[in-house]
Amino acid sequence: MEDIITTINVKKYFPIKMNFLQYLITRKREYIKAVDGISFSLRKGETFTLVGESGSGKSTIGKLLIKSLELTDGKMIFEGKDITRVKGNELKALRRKMQIVFQDPYSSLNPTMKIGDTIERPLKIHKICQKRKIKEKALEMLENIGLSPAEDFYEKYPWQLSGGQRQRVAIARAIIICPEFVVLDEPVSMIDVSLRTLILDLLIKLKQQYDLTYLFITHDLAIASYISNTIATMYLGKIIELGSKKEVLASPKHPYTKALLSAVPIPNPKMKRKKIIPKGEIPNPINPPTGCRFHPRCNYAEEICGKKEPELVEVSKDHKVACHLC
């Protein structure tokens, strides 16, 4: 399979605001290193999942990929073209091919716009179809995502919809212009467990129908295991494990991935899994720990872990890990 998007050593640093006096005193700008040197490729048609705790930089990557944030350093290639610094009309054309669905459907939909208008807007902005066909297309999309009768939903406002229905509208808005690539940033974490599978199945169906590639962001490996082809674990702005779903879930190598796996509640009272919970909380990304970023919380840390940063190396086919001990 060809790669649709490739990132090479991508970095995103957010400067910390300080006033002039503070600057005079410290003489140093400080940065939050949200994404700190990440390289990976998405194959066309796959679902690539980023897992990790809050603050690991997953959402920042999502925003970098759809160009809603500028990278600090590194390179991004989309369909064989360097898009690191595209601007203006070229960027607008690119946006037609890349869309995003956000976590919270309560804040991502405009409360003053009818559902129909919300879904039609991207068609109008990108002038994708003839004016008289716009409504027809929106109604068709509403049916397709299971909001039927479509005519009724077309006239409704977001507050008249449940959380699951709103999230479907947000998905429809992203997909109606037939993009190539969609970032799904925790699309089901605000939704009841009973409805999550419904939304996930809808996403899988749409992916096949529209020939999409997904970057899926989640902190829950149970959800990742349901939808992914490839899983990458992130920690403090770095990818620390990357591999096919089968490899990563069947034989996780990095202690952090193992911890994430063990923390997922099992809906079976007879299966007790010992939970491995790392000590403390995720450290401050302004001054990340030296060496392996996970070493202060790692139960297996050795001397080398504090000194040398491990590289992401291949341990078996389709499986890379950044850990000195693997």
């Binding site: 705790e53 449940s162 009841d192 467990v193 599978t197 349901y226 994430l260 997922v264 509640p265 009272p269």
Partner: protein, 316 residues
């Protein structure tokens, strides 16, 4: 021994659009030292049920009928002042979203000290000592006592909420989705803390959640709620082995698990009925694959099947 006994409770919201029957004839009891999980989808009335035990149902909600006995005392017959004295000291609550529950312009010390001084006749110095002790128990270092809510992470804020709930040594804690806004790792850590503190303080716990994974790991007994009714109650393993109500069966099957294999999950089609005009018969009728004629017209009675296994369905 029963610590809490809810009998045929009805809590309605008298809104402009009509009467929303959020809790509609719920009977439930909690034994001392037990963890009772209450599971259900959003809008099934589980939070309202939790709030009514503390008599905190917000306007325009009203407890229409039923009884709630706590340690033999009828909570609904007490005056507001008497209930206020019970809150925190006997029954405490942990809410879902600490960002909304903590006051952004009060530091952590003020939150806790205020709560102690409201209920206990001690001086401020002692209150501060007690505050430090309880924060230590939930793993918040002493030197952060003067910090404000925004300076803490989500997991820490939820631990502060737990400290607030434990402050006055209550006997019963109602935790309403205590971990739903947290990461899986922090969730596991918070639940572990709650479990240990429950042991240490000899608490009883009502755990309200929509996540079957969490209830199966944490509860002794589980009550399943649907559209204002409790439709099944059973011991943890019993409910897992033989869930009787079609809704419970479907809900358990809808939870994704971690597996490298392909999984095909079922989900429940349709939506719960509006509680403004709940259907006459079984409330799950429209979504149930075993529905029969009788289910449409007659509300099922609660049947006891086996030991301590209660189900509200015409099939049994």
């Amino acid at each position: 021994m029963k610590l809490l006994d809810i009998k045929n409770l009805r809590v309605y919201y008298f809104s402009e659009e009509g009467v929303v029957k959020a809790v509609d004839g719920v009977s439930l009891s909690l034994n001392k030292g037990e963890t009772l999980g209450v599971v259900g989808e959003s809008g099934c009335g589980k939070s309202t049920l939790g709030l009514s035990v503390l008599r905190l149902v917000p306007y325009p909600g009203k407890m229409v009928s039923g009884k709630i006995f706590y340690n033999g005392i009828d909570l609904l017959s007490l005056s507001d002042e008497e209930v206020r004295k019970l809150r925190g000291k006997e029954i405490a609550m942990i809410f879902q979203n600490p960002d909304v529950s903590l006051n952004p312009i009060m530091n952590i010390k003020e939150h806790l000290v205020e709560a102690i001084l409201t209920h206990e006749e001690i001086d401020e110095r002692e209150a501060v000592e007690k505050t430090e002790e309880i924060l230590g128990k939930v793993g918040i270092p002493k030197n952060r006592i003067n910090d404000y809510p925004h300076q803490f992470s989500g997991g820490m804020k939820q631990r502060i909420m737990i400290a607030l709930a434990l402050l006055l040594n209550p006997k019963l804690i109602i935790a309403d989705e205590p971990t739903s806004s947290l990461d899986v790792l922090i969730q596991a850590k918070t639940l572990e803390l709650l479990r240990n503190l429950k042991e240490e303080y000899g608490l009883s716990l009502i755990l309200i959640t929509h996540d079957f994974g969490v209830v199966f790991e944490e509860s002794d007994r589980i009550a399943v709620m649907y559209a204002g009714h409790i439709i099944e109650i059973a011991k943890n393993t019993e409910l897992y082995d033989k869930p009787l109500h079609p809704y419970t069966q479907a809900l358990i099957k809808a939870v994704p698990t971690v597996t490298p294999e392909e999984q095909k999950l079922n989900y429940i089609l349709g939506m719960p009925p509006s509680l403004l005009t709940p259907p006459k018969g079984c409330r799950f009728y429209a979504r149930c694959k075993y529905a029969r004629e009788i289910c449409k017209f007659k509300e099922p009675k609660t049947a006891t099947v086996g030991r301590e296994h209660i189900v509200k369905c015409h099939l049994y």
